[in-house]
């Protein structure tokens, strides 16, 4: 191979076979990389994942083989592999238990047994405490523990969750009525209908979906891509998982509509590694429907939920967010115009086209000290207090709205209307629909420290404000919590909040102090 110095380590036959499934078999001959191998860097993460699922970790031999087959400099492949928390570069047992120690599971008393790995939120908050077991071998598998959660708490008044409440079979393909309707209307009319609807993105940024679609549809550069962002990793969020696990055909149909309307040649769905059942069900729905959609699986990196980091991850690079502009509608996946939508956003579209339910509803993930945790669907504008009553929440000393990147509310702020406008006016965010209830006995100091730890762990490390700021934030909070203060922590934290919000590259750093600051200002925690 020209110009690349490779690792001397060789893969085992098992590793070679596992990687070959992803990258294709090696032609007999001198082992040289052929021309067609050269643009396949995007297969790096799938190849590393395959090797690890086979033998339990990524050995130097497997790393070297993946580098050679994909013609990636080994130093870069190593840089990618070390980026992801779920890729192990040191030998470990084939059977690993990842125990969630995040906010909801901590409230439920999670403890990490010897030999287990602590994990950030696994998105199983309605069945906390939860864990994920990964078993490598000839027949690798991943298990969510507990395997099932409580049924949907609501049975009526639902739109996005109606089919699930009615007990739809997730493995049986329904008639794609909305897609047929889209084809009758034609792409322009579909976009017009979405634009005329009140639909705003549900991933956290609340951008008007129709405008995004129109922007991509009008781009002269081709091909266009659709990316469904299912890297749902905001602590306390599990809404997209429930949809993917229980009504996967609704999502693939919605993706097909989006692709049709915006002229996308191909769609990708990026699901976090921690969601094995969602991956299985979505893959089944893709195979059954025959749409040109490819499933990509993450490897443990919250930041990859940031849309441009997600592109980098699919393309085989470290999941480091890109600077914007240019925006994905112009320069997105593989540098092409890209529609990137959240799962919940997309599954709204069939209802818009069919006109079967004009209510603008929103999914909320209720967890923590509530009697009936789970996924709720209410109309935008519903008071938070009503939602808490539905979930039989305990009397709360605080509610975390929007996740680790959101804000803590006081008991007297719970009449907040759950709408984008009301949230903005109150200086909070609905984010990804997280509502975590902290009851009278909850330990808010621990929660604040856990959030600070989360951001320090999940910072990609690219920009200074976030890479060092999240560390200094955590240090200052620990000093306050332990009473060993330097006397200037409050000023330091205020400065860190400002520099991270103002000067970080992406939303992770920009919101890394949000919940912490709200806990201090709003609740007086550590203040």
């Amino acid at each position: 191979m020209p110009d690349l110095k490779l690792l001397a380590d060789v893969p085992t036959a098992d590793e070679r076979e596992a990687i070959d499934v992803v990258v294709g078999g090696e032609a007999a001959g001198d082992g040289r990389v052929t021309r067609s191998d050269r643009t396949r860097r995007h297969l790096l993460l799938p190849a590393l994942r395959a090797a690890q699922r086979r033998v339990g970790w990524v050995t130097p031999g497997a790393l070297g083989y993946a580098s050679r087959r994909l013609e990636i400099p080994p130093a870069e492949a190593y840089g990618v592999a070390t980026f992801y928390a779920l890729i192990a570069l040191e030998e470990r047992p084939a059977d690993v238990l990842h125990v969630c120690t995040d906010l909801c599971c901590a409230l439920a008393g999670a403890t990490v047994p010897d030999g287990a790995q602590p994990s950030p939120c696994l998105g199983l908050c309605e069945r906390a405490p939860a864990s994920l077991r990964t078993v490598a071998g000839p027949e690798p598998r991943e298990e969510q523990i507990p395997a099932t959660g409580p049924p949907l708490p609501q049975t009526s008044g639902l739109k996005l969750l109606r089919r699930i409440a009615e007990g739809v079979d997730p493995e049986s393909q329904p008639e794609f009525v909305a897609l047929a309707r889209a084809r009758e209307l034609g792409p322009d009319a579909v976009i017009a209908a979405v634009k005329a609807s009140p639909l705003l993105g549900r991933g956290g940024a609340a951008f008007p979906t129709g405008r995004k679609w129109e922007a991509v549809a009008s781009q002269p550069a081709t091909p266009h891509y659709l990316v469904c962002n299912a890297d749902e990793s905001e602590p306390g969020t599990f809404k997209d998982r429930v949809i993917m696990e229980q009504d996967p055909f609704a999502l693939v149909e919605s993706m097909a509509i989006a692709m049709y309307a915006t002229g996308c040649e191909k769609g990708f769905i990026y699901i976090r590694a921690e969601y094995p059942l969602a991956q299985k069900r979505i893959q089944h729905a893709i195979d059954a429907s025959g749409f040109d959609i490819e499933l990509r699986i993450g490897a443990g990196a919250y930041v990859c939920g940031e849309e441009t980091a997600l592109f980098q991850s699919i393309e085989g690079f470290r999941g480091e967010p890109r600077n914007k502009p240019p925006f994905p509608v112009e320069v997105g996946l593989f540098g092409k115009p890209t529609v990137v939508n959240n799962v919940e956003t997309l599954v709204n579209v069939p209802h818009i086209l069919l006109g079967d339910d004009a209510r603008d509803t929103r999914l909320f993930c209720l967890s923590g000290n509530v009697g009936r945790p789970g996924l709720y669907e209410v109309e935008l504008g519903t008071p938070l207090r009503d939602l808490l009553e539905l979930a039989e929440a305990e009397p709360a000393k605080a509610v975390l709205l929007g996740g680790a990147a959101g804000s803590f509310l006081r008991p007297d702020q719970l009449d907040l209307e759950l709408s984008f406008d009301a949230a903005r006016e109150a200086g909070v965010t609905l984010g990804s629909g997280v509502v975590i209830v902290f009851g009278e006995n909850a330990d808010l100091v621990s929660a604040v420290l856990r959030i600070a730890e989360f951001f320090r762990d999940e910072s990609c490390g690219q920009c200074v404000p976030c890479r060092v700021g999240t560390v200094r934030q955590e240090e200052a909070l620990h000093r306050l919590a332990s009473g060993r203060t330097n006397g200037n922590e409050l000023a330091v934290l205020a400065d860190l909040e400002q520099v991270m919000r103002d000067a970080s590259i992406c939303g992770l750093g920009q919101t890394a102090a949000s919940a912490v600051t709200s806990a201090m200002k709003n609740l007086g925690v550590l203040a």
Binding site: A75, Y78, G79, C463, G469, E475, A503
Partner: protein, 274 residues
Amino acid sequence: MIELTVDGQAVQVEEGSTILDACRRVEIDTPTLCYGDTLTPVNVCRVCVVELEGARTLVPSCSRKAEDGMVVRTDSERVRTSRRLVLELLGSSVNLSTAPEALAYIEQYDAEPDRFGADSLTVAQAVKVDNDLYVRDYSKCILCYKCVEACGVDHQNTFAIAVAGRGFGAHISTELDVPLPESACVYCGNCIAVCPTGALMATSEFELREAGTWKEEEQEEVDTVCPYCGVGCNLTMHVQEGQIVKVTSPDDHDVTLGNLCIKGRFGYRYVQNK
């Protein structure tokens, strides 16, 4: 031409210019650390941020393209605060003792890297000395990505190093952290040429500094042309007490853009053989 306003002054720049270009056009002092004249901007250090009217956050001037009608402020309290904090965060975590530019900015922005306390986590670690030609002291690394860019597609296309790890643990590494002689490194030293903090340093300079005999202010710079091949790279010999102690090439030399090969950068000892 594009016309924008920077700190109240109208500035005209060519299409494709950045806000930083516009600032420099009107001699507005703008700090930069990860920016390099000959490298693709990565905008990671965030010390060059400016306030752009209509933008929610500050924007990196080194990579943000200038647009007609932009209104930019570089002298606001908001800009100063972010720049000061970036310098404090770097100064509190990295050894900047051989980074004169960063030290000057720290003074200029009244940054106090010590304010986070003595227990602050740093990137302190042992110096990597694994070859005869240059050392890597990553306790001085601000992770500006310049060496990775110089080793990669921007200059050398050798790809011996990359950023590995994540968050505060992100660092520059060879594959599996193997020593340089086992890596793809070709010892061109172009990473040393772009390093803004002295984390990468020719062994000749490193040893003199260790011995306390590095006297930069007394050194003479002598320009010549590399004698090895027909390319004709300009060399700047840094001479101290009659001895060559370092070789560089000017960034603005249109043949090298500051780059050399192993022979040009390190193959000078024969000159001094007597």
